[in-house]
């Protein structure tokens, strides 16, 4: 069916859709899913509550991945000069090999291991007799071959089960080498309920083993860290281009196109700008407690959001020169962006979108769609927690269940010598009084219209049903969902890895995204679903071939 000729169920009621989604489930599953499907409504003084970060239901085809994927794939994957060695059977390392589209610039030092895949390729004898010796040997072989400045070891499921002590092995190897930092991540796939636990495990170890290793003061007047930006399709490159133009120095990106030294120097920055709240907000908290660096939430997805975030950074530093430069940059960049959004909007306005990705993207990308005049009618996260939906004010009330209890929380104290408040109390108060918000994230719900459907951990059945009932003009999720949606004749955009596109962040990224969505929702291909004889099965004429 061609998009243009689709009959839309304009009158769907969100509560009916919800009921429809739940109908097929066994009662226990329906009860659980009901709490994760929310009809967004404006409540007095509070946001409605959604259940999130809970176990996936066995047998229900989920979009989620595992803790290892969150740790090795997402957080450590984009770091180019660390040898990321996976301790386990071959698959885990193989599947995380170059599949996430994190772009890398090898830089002047030329060190780049992202094109490599390292594994101990555990065999049954290692499972039976233990894999510690093999791991130590593999670390040695990697060191002898490459002499990297750092080797990171990742545990896969069997490693935790057989009890290999990877932390002791890495500690011994670090001491043995002297010039190579070796550490390990206990990110077995069965831990937690989604990738989110892996982000946490990764970030904790980066904070514990790398941050603060280099006290050298880097040049630059306005020094920040960009937290939770993974350089998919070159997003980080575009953001760095803008920073450079504004005169803002990015000390460390966690972790797109990052290096060991960037992490090691992160404590020397003066502000932490948090992109993906889900994957990294706790690192921002730790950096503040230990080193005195305040943090703000930013969003570089969407041209307006980018401008707003730049202004926020400039306001924090409060320097007239920076404020002026930022305004100048915005004024320079916006006309090109607006020219394209104006042009594209003639073809995209009024169209509808759904997005089910990540722990922040399903929120951030609504900015870009609204800049194109498109409305998000349903959205949700794959691995978020309640605070990503409802805002940070719910954090103190979050229930710690059996699955999150075992994910380590690091207790941080101010560093004896290096804790240095970046602003005086008076300065902080003055900024806050002027409406400047630190550590603030209100989540996805307040930004979505009343009556939209917000769904956590959407699964294959629900996705198909949603598309069938609500017939969006575009659906956004990941590679696993892509083709089942497209078979229905609805274009699908990957918002994890961007298909083959990007960057979509910043100003140039916004232009790329407008063009990409315009291409997708207006492609002629969606009108070819049926052949002429399928559209008109009855023969109404014949050739006169007698």
């Amino acid at each position: 069916m061609a998009t243009a000729t689709k009959k839309k169920l304009v009158n769907w009621e969100p509560t009916d859709v919800k009921e429809e989604l739940l109908k097929i489930y066994p009662p226990k599953v329906a009860r659980k899913r009901a709490k994760q499907i929310l009809v967004n409504e404006a409540l007095e003084n509070e946001t409605p509550e959604i259940q999130a970060n809970v176990r996936t239901i066995p047998g229900i085809i989920t979009m989620r991945g595992c803790t290892y994927a969150g740790c090795k794939g997402v957080i450590m994957g984009p770091t180019r000069d660390i040898v990321n060695l996976v301790h386990g059977p071959i698959g885990c390392s193989f599947y995380a090999w170059l599949t996430r589209r994190n772009q890398t610039d090898a830089g002047p030092d030329g060190e780049n291991y992202m094109t490599y895949c390292f594994s101990t390729d555990m065999q049954d004898s290692d499972i039976i007799f233990g894999g510690e010796k093999k791991l130590a040997k593999a670390i040695q072989e990697a060191y002898d071959l490459f002499h990297p400045k750092s080797i990171a070891v990742f545990a896969t499921c069997p490693v935790g089960l057989i009890g290999d002590d990877i932390h002791t092995v890495t500690k011994q190897m670090k001491e043995k080498f002297g010039d190579c930092n070796v550490y390990a991540f206990s990110c077995e796939g069965y831990k937690g309920v989604s990738q989110s636990a892996g982000h946490h495990i990764a970030n904790n170890q980066v904070f514990r083993h790398i941050v603060g290793e280099n006290d050298e003061v880097k040049p630059g007047k306005y020094k920040i860290n960009l937290l939770g930006e993974y350089n998919i399709g070159g997003d980080g490159f575009e953001i760095d281009r803008i920073f450079k133009k504004c005169g803002i120095t990015n000390i460390a990106t966690f972790s797109g196109n990052s290096t060991y030294d960037q992490f090691a120097s992160a404590h020397t920055a003066d502000l932490n700008a948090v992109m993906c709240h889900r994957s990294i907000n706790y690192v921002a908290d730790m950096l503040e407690t230990k080193y005195g660096i305040p943090w703000i939430k930013v969003n570089f997805i969407g041209a307006n959001a980018t401008a707003k975030s730049l202004r926020k950074i400039a306001e924090y530093f409060g320097d007239k020169k920076l404020i002026n430069t930022v305004e100048k940059v915005i004024a320079e960049e916006m006309p090109d962006v607006e020219a394209v959004s104006d042009e594209v909007r003639t073809r995209t306005a009024g169209k509808t979108a759904m997005m089910f990705v990540g722990g922040s993207r399903a929120h951030h990308y609504q900015e870009l769609f609204s800049e194109m005049g498109m409305k998000t009618i349903s959205a949700g996260y794959e691995f978020a927690h309640r605070d990503d939906y409802e805002g940070r004010h719910v954090i103190p009330n979050l229930k710690v269940d059996a699955d999150s209890r075992n994910i380590e929380e690091i207790e941080v104290e101010p560093d004896e010598t290096r804790f240095k408040p970046r602003k005086s109390d008076q300065q902080m108060q003055a900024l806050e009084k002027a409406g400047f918000k630190f550590k603030d994230y209100e989540g996805l719900l307040p930004d979505m219209d009343t009556g939209t459907l917000v769904i956590d951990d959407l699964n294959q059945y629900e996705a198909e049903k949603l598309v069938e009932l609500m017939q969006p003009d575009i659906f956004c999720a990941g590679i696993k969902e892509k083709y089942s949606i497209q078979k229905l004749g609805v274009p699908m955009k990957q918002l994890h890895s961007y298909d083959s596109g990007g960057p979509y962040a910043g100003f140039k990224g916004a232009v790329n995204f407008y063009r990409e969505i315009d291409r997708l929702v207006n492609s002629k291909v969606w009108s070819y679903m049926k052949a002429p004889w399928q559209k008109n099965p009855q023969l109404s004429a014949s050739y006169n071939w007698e």
Binding site: P26, V29, R55, I57, P58, G59, I60, I61, T62, G65, C66, Y68, G88, P89, I90, G91, C92, S93, F94, Y95, A96, W97, T99, N112, Y113, T115, Y116, C117, F118, S119, T120, D121, M122, Q123, D126, L135, K137, Q140, E141, L145, C157, P158, L161, I162, G189, Y190, G192, A402, E464, G478, I479, K480, Y483, Q486, K487, L488, G489, V525, M529, K530
Partner: protein, 457 residues
């Protein structure tokens, strides 16, 4: 340089695998299971395994890959995954209603000792498997063998559905091994031309090469049916293509149901296809139709027409054992020179077969099983080649070493056509030749000096 840290000097590694030439068992089990009609593959382990396998297969086929998972948590890993699996079985039949669940284990569930066969019995006893529906399972520990082993194990589990009624069905079982949907289609066409009634299993044609028509079928029309799988026990015999992928299932049918089998090489290239057709003709007791002789002649014709561009060209190869054995033989048969051959799958037999095939080449071929792309790259640095054949990961070597490159194998994540155009049989041989010649001649056209640049090649 993308692989700038790979040194020319080869040092021995005994613990570290770099740039693997294999992946783990479960993905093979999942691919095989998709070749059963109405089947939902199920991964009994942590949900990441299932997500990774689905993603990789989706990127390779550009098709939806549906599969469920037991979604182990830490608790399940300690107390066993039986409760998760039971819940999964119930949910799967309620929500997705497949004809059959084909479950496989993972390193997680294997390490803790979960027994899927016992869980299935319990599910049956408790009425969790509806009347007329099925479940099969394969043990696929990721720390043994490779993706090829997992494929073979799941195919063997399919054979376990076989029943003997005592009455022969007049058909021949053909086990194609891990080949593309188009290859499975082509094998059926060839068997049809020879006039043989057959059951091909698994059969991913009509499953992973689906049309875009505005309709999503979670269970597409293709795939070997359960009735056919049951009937394999009554077949006249089994032709198993590929020792690594298909022999176990064939031997199982032989011992359990007295269905005799022949293990052949996968029919890639001239000679392996010759043997396959000859075997078909022998089992069917028929003469081979002229159509097939013409197809063969066309392949021989192209070899002779373009022999000057193939002769003594050096080739590096990476892939899976069954495919590499047939491909090496094909390259030798057209007077090319396979130099370096690597598979990640273990097997001394593989090295032996390759050495036999190349014994008259006049040089020692570098061949290694249970090896990786890192070593292959080092071999190439030491003894350069004119062409590299392998999966998508070879593109990094091809670019760094500026090598003509033919994509063939699994996974292919960056080019299309592999699911639609077969490389088995004589017609497939033509396509392989076309690809090899295309790569070599594109390079010639790029590199020839202007005065020697030629219109007619």
């Amino acid at each position: 340089m993308l692989l700038r840290h790979t040194p020319k000097e080869i040092t021995e590694r005994s613990a570290l695998t770099i740039n693997p030439a294999k992946t783990c068992q479960p993905i093979g089990a999942m691919y095989a299971a998709l070749g059963i009609h109405g089947c939902l593959p199920h991964s009994h382990g942590s949900q990441g395994c299932c997500a990774y396998h689905r993603s990789t297969l989706t990127r390779h086929y550009k098709e939806p890959i549906s599969a469920a998972t037991s979604s182990f948590t830490e608790g399940a890993s300690v107390f066993g995954g039986q409760a998760n699996m039971m819940q999964a079985i119930n949910n799967i039949f309620t929500v997705y209603d497949p004809e059959i669940i084909a479950a496989h284990t993972t390193c997680l569930s294997e390490t803790i000792g979960d027994d899927l066969k016992q869980i299935k019995k319990k599910a049956e006893a408790e009425g969790k498997i509806p009347e007329g529906k099925h479940m099969i399972s394969a043990s696929t520990p990721s720390y043994v063998g490779s993706h090829v082993t997992g494929f073979s194990n799941m195919v063997k589990s399919m054979a376990e559905l076989a029943e003997s009624t005592g009455k022969k069905n007049g058909k021949v079982n053909i086990i194609p091994g891990w080949v593309e949907p188009a290859d499975m289609e082509e094998l059926k066409r060839i068997a049809g031309l020879v006039g043989i009634k057959h059951i091909l299993f698994p059969d991913t044609s009509g499953v992973l090469d689906g049309p875009l028509s505005g309709e999503y079928k979670m269970f597409p029309d293709g795939g070997t049916t359960i009735a056919e799988l049951k009937s394999t026990g009554d077949s006249l015999g089994t032709l198993a293509l590929g020792e690594w992928c298909s022999a176990d299932a064939a031997r199982y049918l032989d011992t359990q149901h007295k269905v005799p089998c022949s293990i052949l090489d996968m029919p890639f290239g001239l000679m392996a296809t010759d043997r396959f057709i000859d075997a078909l003709r022998t089992v069917a007791g028929t003469t081979v139709p002229d159509t097939i002789a013409v197809e063969r002649g066309q392949l021989v014709d192209m070899i002779s027409d373009m022999h000057q561009y193939l002769y003594h060209k050096k080739v590096a190869l990476v892939g899976d054992p069954d495919q590499l054995i047939a491909m090496t033989e094909f390259l030798v048969s057209i007077d090319m020179q396979p130099m370096h051959i690597v598979t990640g799958t273990p097997g001394k037999k593989f090295e032996k077969r390759i050495k036999e095939i190349t014994k008259d080449m006049g040089y020692d071929v570098n061949v290694k099983a249970k090896s990786d792309l890192f070593l292959l790259h080092q071999w190439i640095k030491n003894d350069p080649v004119d062409l590299i054949i392998g999966n998508t990961y070879c593109k990094y070597i091809a670019r760094d070493e500026d090598l003509p490159y033919v994509r063939w194998g699994f996974p292919i994540l960056d080019r299309q056509g592999h699911q639609y155009f077969p490389t088995v049989g004589y017609k497939g041989g033509l396509r392989l030749l076309e690809k090899i010649l295309g790569a070599l001649l594109d390079r010639k056209d790029r590199d020839d000096p202007e005065e020697r640049f030629e219109l007619v090649l």
